[in-house]
Structures are given as structure tokens and as C-alpha cells.
Symmetry: C2
């Protein structure tokens, strides 16, 4: 299994604090030492970093802990490999272009035995992970339904929800997905989130002794949502997604939500 | 205009020396200060780095000068913007997946007034550069001719040559392109290359006082080709491409060549 970390903000914000906590779990406080990767979107483009070492040992990851890269959207992943060799093409997040937008996808979980049912179209996996296979299938399904980006995105979010729900029914499929404009998070069994806004306070990381006072780092208008497999801080209240629940964050705010109805 | 740097090697090799010379030109010894990017392939996947600052000032680029990232193929670019804003989506190299391979493209030059003739298919530009437009068009043309990767790649190389030749006829179009297995270099007006093999000697960078003794860094079986817009060293003999010439490098060796015949 792996762990996910995402961020959505209404002003370019650095995800340094959350990243610092996440990479501790990449070999030090947890077992996710089989590579890591992170995409920092600024508008339609992104800076991406990845490595095959455990994030907690990796020089690139350590360097990133010194960099305040301001982003609108972040998608990060630390890997504990189950399917697919330890190669760069098997590290998350994965990237494809659709509609002239870079879609970025990271997955935590494992789906077995249904790949024959997942028809791939023009998006072909480069590596051998089930995760990249799922991503390629999902993009194909999106493009089949929406050859052009829909004016009202809700039917698109509903389609993503239904398709990830099919995987959830047969395995574990926690997902972060972005097109650079919104951050979509789907929970299969484990995902938490927190929205920080004024009045900002201090936060304490869970995995390493580090405290930040967000009041000194933000303005009163800032809204920043962080999503993680497990809460990254100890002194804040994180909310848990329900199993089979999808949320869409735009500029830091939750703007769409679908979940299983009884 | 911009500058290009590429590497092809038969063993994973760090391109640190060449990168160090290149980034000097990104604002210190030359004017290419409008962003930079580099892809280090290891097998089918890659580690990518890019930034919007001048490479010579950029902390990420400075950090990379401390990292010996071993690669089979490298594609690097420093930008002096002429078309397209200073945004991450407009920094080279560009990336798309075709045939389950990551294609990476960097361009130096400017093509004007022929975009109406360049039909785009499923590959859509995310940014606004002529370079990304060319890349998307070229991949579309490749896919139209070869829905599957050809067993004999020579007709593919010939097609790329013909298509880049059309651009060369109407502007300047120096290109580095890779699919992770070969490095394709096309010269429109300015491109040089050198193949280093045993017996290895010392090399002196042109843009900064730095010498490396490759004999201490290599084995006798290593073969490494470096391509650059302009020779990166002063004490070695670089060969110049001819205008409208394409070369394909595989595992450090030149294995295919097409040029204009009189």
C-alpha cells in the first residue's frame, strides 16, 4: 500500500510542511520506501519531482524540504510496492494530457483480477503498475463520454465517481486526480482532509517534531485544503472521507461531493 | 532562441558536467534566462526537473549540480522566450505518451506562419509555444503513419526527418526527441556533438572553470555522446551537424543518419 498527499489552495501556497510530514513516512515512521513523487501545479503547468529511494533518505526529497514551492494544487505519493518493479516509470504520480490539460493521478490500494474488464483506448501504460492501468482506463472512459471538456463539470465528476466505485467494489482504490484546475479525491477506505482558513493557528506534525504557525505564513483570505491518507498533524481536527466518497476541491474550497446513499 | 543539450550512453551515466556548462548559459555567460528543464531517463521512466528562473540563479538547478543522476538518455533545454509567456507549461522539454512510451521533445528556433498547415490530432498543446505545437503535430503525424511502433524504425526516422525538414524550410527548428530508447537530434542551423569513448581524457568546460578527467569516471567500455547547440568544452573536437541533418543515437553510438543530398 502507499500513502497520498494533496493540496488545493486559493493562492499559490507552499506545501512544505505537509511534504515534510509525508516523507517521514517514506521509510522512517512508516514503510513506504519504494519511491516517491510529487507534482506542484502553477496554473496549467507543474514542477515534478520523483525518486526511487525512500523519501526519507532521498537527497532530492531532502532538498525539497528546503524549498517553498508555491502551488495552486499539489499531488504527492509515497510508494510501498506491491504490483510493478521499482522503476521510475512505476512511481506515482502519473501524467497524461487530455483536452490540452495535464492530468495527474496518484493511487493507493490494489485492484486485482479485473484488468480484462478495463478496456484501454489511446492511453497506454508505460510501466507495469495496476495504478497506471487504472489511470489510463479512467482517462479513456472520460474521453469517450466527453470528447470535449464539459461546460458543467458535475456530470464529469459523477462519471469519475461511478468508475472509481466499480474499482472500489473489487478492491482498494483511494485516488487523487487533478487537471490543474480542481483536485478530485476519491476514498475507498482511507483518506482524511482539513481546510485551513482564518483565523489560522499553529500545527504540529505527527511524524517529526515540527511546528508551524500558519498565521505568520498566510493572509486572512487564504483558504488551503490538505488531503492525506492519514492526518499529518496532531493538534488539528481532520475529517475522514467515507468509503466510496468523492470530493472536488477548487481554490481550497470543497465545491462538489458525491457519496454512497443507503 | 534557446539552447539544447542531450546525452545518450551505453551505461547509466551522469550528465553533471554538461549540465553545469549548460546552466551557465542560462543567464550568466549567455541570455537564456526564461526557464529551463531537463529529463533524465532511466529505462522507460525519467526524473524531470524544470524551473522558471534563470538556470544560473535557480536553486533547483544549483542543487542538480550536486547530484550525479545516472541516465541512459538526457534531454535538456534553456529558454530565451520568444513565443509564449513565462509559465511552467511553456518550459521545455515537453512530454507525451505514445505506444506506451514517454516521448520527450525540446526545440530551439522559431517557426512562424505555418500553424494553419499543421493539423493537430489527439495531442493538444497545454501551453502557447510554437515548440509544443510542433511536438503535438509531429506525434500526430507519427501515429497516423505508425499506429503501432514499427519493427524496423528507419521509416519512422525518415518520416521525422521529412516533417522536421518542412519546418526547417520555413524557419529554424533544431530538435532533440527521445522515446527512452533512442535520442534523435535534428539540426536546422546549429547543433554539435561529440562521442567520448576509451581512451578517455580530460575535458574543460567553456562557460565556467571546471575540468573533469573522464578516465576516472568511466570504464573502458563506456560510450557517451553529448549533443549541444554549441560545444560545451574547449579542449575537445566537437563535430557540427549540417543544416537539415538528422542523427539517431542509441546507447551512445550514432546508428542512423539522414541528411540533405545535393
Amino acid at each position: 500500500m502507499c500513502q497520498l498527499m494533496g493540496m488545493s489552495a486559493n493562492v499559490p501556497t507552499d506545501a512544505l510542511f505537509s511534504f515534510t510530514g509525508l516523507v517521514e513516512r517514506a521509510g522512517r515512521t512508516d514503510v513506504h520506501r519504494d519511491g516517491w513523487g510529487i507534482s506542484f501545479y502553477q496554473g496549467k503547468g507543474s514542477q515534478d519531482f520523483r525518486g526511487l529511494n525512500a523519501g526519507s533518505d532521498c537527497e532530492v526529497a531532502q532538498f525539497l524540504k528546503t524549498q517553498k514551492i508555491k502551488s495552486d494544487i499539489v499531488v504527492g505519493h509515497i510508494r510501498q510496492a506491491n504490483v510493478g518493479a521499482l522503476t521510475l516509470e512505476n512511481t506515482h504520480p502519473f501524467r497524461r494530457e487530455l483536452w490540452g490539460r495535464y492530468f495527474t493521478f496518484a493511487h493507493n490500494g490494489q485492484i486485482e483480477g479485473i484488468f480484462d474488464q478495463l478496456t484501454l483506448g489511446r492511453f497506454k501504460p508505460v510501466g507495469s503498475t495496476d495504478s497506471e492501468h487504472i489511470f489510463c482506463w479512467l482517462l479513456h472512459e472520460i474521453e469517450q463520454a466527453f470528447p470535449e471538456p464539459p461546460v458543467d463539470p458535475k456530470p464529469l465528476y459523477d462519471l469519475i465517481y461511478r468508475h472509481l466505485g466499480k474499482l472500489h467494489a473489487q478492491g482498494v482504490c483511494n485516488v487523487l486526480l487533478t487537471d490543474g484546475s480542481v483536485l478530485i479525491a476519491y476514498c475507498s477506505n482511507r483518506l482524511q482532509w482539513i481546510t485551513r482558513r482564518a483565523p489560522f493557528g499553529s500545527a504540529l506534525l505527527k511524524d517529526i517534531e515540527l511546528e508551524v504557525d500558519f498565521a505568520t505564513e498566510t493572509t486572512v483570505n487564504d483558504v488551503v485544503t490538505v488531503i492525506a491518507t492519514q492526518a499529518l498533524t496532531t493538534n488539528e481536527t481532520w475529517q475522514s472521507f467515507e468509503p466510496n466518497e468523492l470530493m472536488v476541491f477548487e481554490q481550497g474550497e470543497l465545491n462538489y461531493q458525491v457519496k454512497a446513499t443507503d
